[in-house]
Amino acid sequence: MKIRLAYTLPLLLSLLASTAAQAVEYSQLLADKSSLGFSYRQMNVPMDGSFKRFKAQLAFDPAQPAKASAAFEIEVASIDVGSAEGNSEVSGKLWFNTATHPTARFVSSGIKALGNNRFEVAGKLTIKGKTLDVSTPVSFKADGANGVFEGAFTIKRADYAIGEGMWADFGTVANDVQIKFRLLAAAKK
């Protein structure tokens, strides 16, 4: 019995140590290598857009998803829908009203592992002053010293009053908007 323990203890310790070594907490968003885009349908034509500037506070150790958290701040005026005319339109009152609501936010409230390096991230999404619960699947993979987080989820633009008045009808611009993200984050040093 004693002999067994003598053999087992170092093994256990080394196992623990190796787990600790693998546990990497990704915490620094590499904004210039990350993208935050969206797609929607306009007259049934698939259209793409993106937000050019956003910040994040991350603490994500794939080995400990329950302790992980993510908070994003998106500069709404950095939107690009593909044309100068479109960009100035969507910054206006009927769309994002960036003068009054310059920032959109996502704050995670719970992250659970789905297995196979996939996670379900729930949180609160605030756009144009309205906060709603959303959740999105996120896949993780290590890319050298960095972590790559990818996912997509769909929101209804009407839920956030994005496109009011003459735009409220979905005949021209559809209600469904898919948010797509690919985030590169470095580990804490």
Partner: protein
């Protein structure tokens, strides 16, 4: 003179002529109108309708060119001066060229601007170019310039037809408007 030429246009040629005349006028008018509108859902709808119409006109123009190449136009009236022959020949060649080039330039512009065409909101058409905003602007200017060219040529074409009817009093205009020659 080429004796193989028929005395009149086929009924199909006449129908294609007027169908394209009507379609091009309406689509061109919508194009000039919509481009000056403030951004609105209506504007986006008009752009889609304009693109659907443009693709339809492109298909019709291709069919019409094929028809014209296989069904020669009737011979010009005897005694028409050579310069008028040449002018007529080249006006018609340019009109056919523009009927193809105008919708094609619009399609290229749409592709370059990153707004694909979904024909009647159902059939996605392939993008002819990679997205390139600057090229899109230039193609937009070309699309507009070609349309002014079309307006000029159509004015010349109509003036020549009226000249044949009013001054020469021959049957050239009646070949496209058969009721005139019946009288």
């Amino acid at each position: 003179m080429s004796s193989s030429r028929p005395g009149s246009y086929t009924r199909t040629a006449i129908r294609l002529h007027w169908l394209l005349a009507l379609g091009l006028s309406a689509t061109l008018a919508l194009g000039f109108y919509m481009s000056d509108l403030p951004f609105s859902p209506a504007k986006l709808q008009y752009y889609s309708w304009h693109k659907w119409a443009g693709i339809t006109l492109l298909l019709l123009a291709v069919f019409r060119l094929g028809w014209r190449l296989t069904h020669p136009a009737p011979a010009a009236p005897a005694g028409m001066p050579a310069w008028q022959h040449a002018a007529s020949e080249w006006t018609h060649r340019l009109l056919y060229l523009l009927m193809l080039a105008i919708p094609l330039s619009g399609w290229l512009m749409s592709s370059a601007k990153g707004v694909p065409t979904v024909y009647f909101g159902v059939l996605p058409l392939p993008d002819l170019l990679e997205r390139n905003v600057e090229l899109g602007k230039q193609l937009g200017q070309l699309h507009g310039a070609l349309n002014f060219g079309l307006l000029g040529l159509v004015a010349l074409h109509a003036a020549a037809a009226l000249k044949h009817y009013v001054i020469d009093r021959d049957e050239v205009l009646g070949r496209m408007l058969p009721f005139l020659n019946k009288a």
